[in-house]
Symmetry: C2
Subunit: 235 residues, 2 copies
DNA sequence: CCATGTGAATGTTTTCACAGCT
DNA sequence: AGCTGTGAAAACATTCACATGG
């Protein structure tokens, strides 16, 4: 039950960084160390299992779950084995139970407040994306250099200017930030979020963010993704 | 080293698929032997080198390039070694030359037409994102189930209905698609793009797309990214 | 039987460390 | 003296294959 989060090293470039060991408190450690790459697959499992469960399918084998997700069955079994034993031999996994269990590990069985910084085109698209809420996240504060200008547009969410990032984030106890500002402003904004106590950041800006070791960063970089695909295109 | 955590881990099955070997044309290309994970880092190198070059810095060591990007120097040297020998011992790399060379490998030294499918909030944000063009991509055709409704909004780019995806994409010779439709429509749209000759797709829908082996897919999945970060948060 | 969970094997990616060139 | 490029080693990740249990 008590899967204590354990942190692995991390990624430098591509897909984000998990919190690094050095700054972690070496607390009572119940579980084996879970590779970040496994942690990054858990949301896919959770999603597939929720879907199956919603479709009234009570159990599923690693084989057919793998088929649905596009990974191998062995990988699913191995990944799950980091957390415990959830299957029944000859039967498979209980979709609802496993789905909820994984959601618990991910801590997405609750709602998280999120601070969004940058209310331009991208920030607005994120705000209006209704898929956020069912996935456990609520944008509770928006920040923009030109707060006054955008105030009216935000749907019931207060828009503050950048100077209030630290104080507001701290006041609300927000742990998650989304960075949707231009590259040049990203590091500054990151520092303010960190100062306010944010521990996880989704970064849309095409820059490498410098963060303390206990902060997790994941990069969303569609441009890099596209540029790496053209490599495979014929001339 | 700084607070920036350096260590790298791989991302195997998570964030997209390179074209599979079986269906690749075994041409003269270097590409077959180059790990996809290396290819996915090249855009970061290209970006950093372009910036350095623009700032008038004529040469750079793997050490300081690494520091700027947030990877290790050894990794940069190893990655580059897949393509050739570009450095001068005792000196480093010529920023402009190496930047242009990598851009050449990635084929981002030219402009690519892109088909965008889905013109909702997300699609519009993508369309208005001006960072696309300098990065080599031009949205040349937009498709939406409700084409007529949105026609007026698109800035000089024709908006077609979904039935015309195959024919238009084929007519314009478009090789790259962006999928910005709801999950339920993603596979259908993908099939139409594939039928029209698209070979690379950026997928924003939270679904596993089934594509022929010669098609590259990269997933953009901010929700999964956020959900994998909450794992590391304290309760 | 069927399908899990896991040691062992294999494959991949990163890092070390240094010979060799400028 | 400084820094690349690369064999060799280490670390990491995936897959195989099967003993085990419902």
């Amino acid at each position: 039950m008590s899967i204590l989060r354990e942190h692995v090293s991390a990624i430098a470039t591509l897909p984000g960084r998990a919190p690094s060991e050095e700054t972690m408190t070496p607390r009572v450690q119940v579980s084996r160390e879970i590779p970040d790459i496994v942690v990054r697959r858990l949301p896919l499992y959770a999603r597939a299992l929720r879907d199956l469960s919603a479709r009234g399918i009570p159990s599923v084998s690693s084989e057919s779950l793998a088929e649905a997700i596009g990974v191998t069955a062995a990988q699913i079994r191995r990944d799950l084995s980091y957390f415990g034993r959830f299957g029944k031999q000859g039967k498979g996994y209980d979709t609802q139970f496993l789905g909820e269990t994984i959601a618990g590990f991910l801590k997405i069985d609750r709602q998280w407040d999120v601070a969004l910084v940058g209310y331009g085109n991208l920030g607005r698209a994120i705000t209006h994306y209704r898929g956020l809420i069912p996935s456990s996240f609520t944008i509770s504060a928006i920040f923009d250099r030109k707060a006054a200008e955008y105030q009216e547009h935000a749907p019931g969410i207060p828009v503050h200017s950048d100077e209030h990032i630290e104080s507001e984030v701290a006041r609300l106890g927000i742990r998650i930030g989304i960075i949707a500002v231009p590259a040049g402003a990203a590091q500054e904004v990151t520092d303010k979020l960190t100062a306010g106590g944010v521990l996880a950041m989704l970064n849309y800006a095409p820059v490498v963010l410098r963060v303390p070791g206990h902060v997790t960063v994941r990069e969303i970089d569609p441009i890099s993704a596209m540029q790496s695909m053209t490599f495979y295109l014929p001339d």
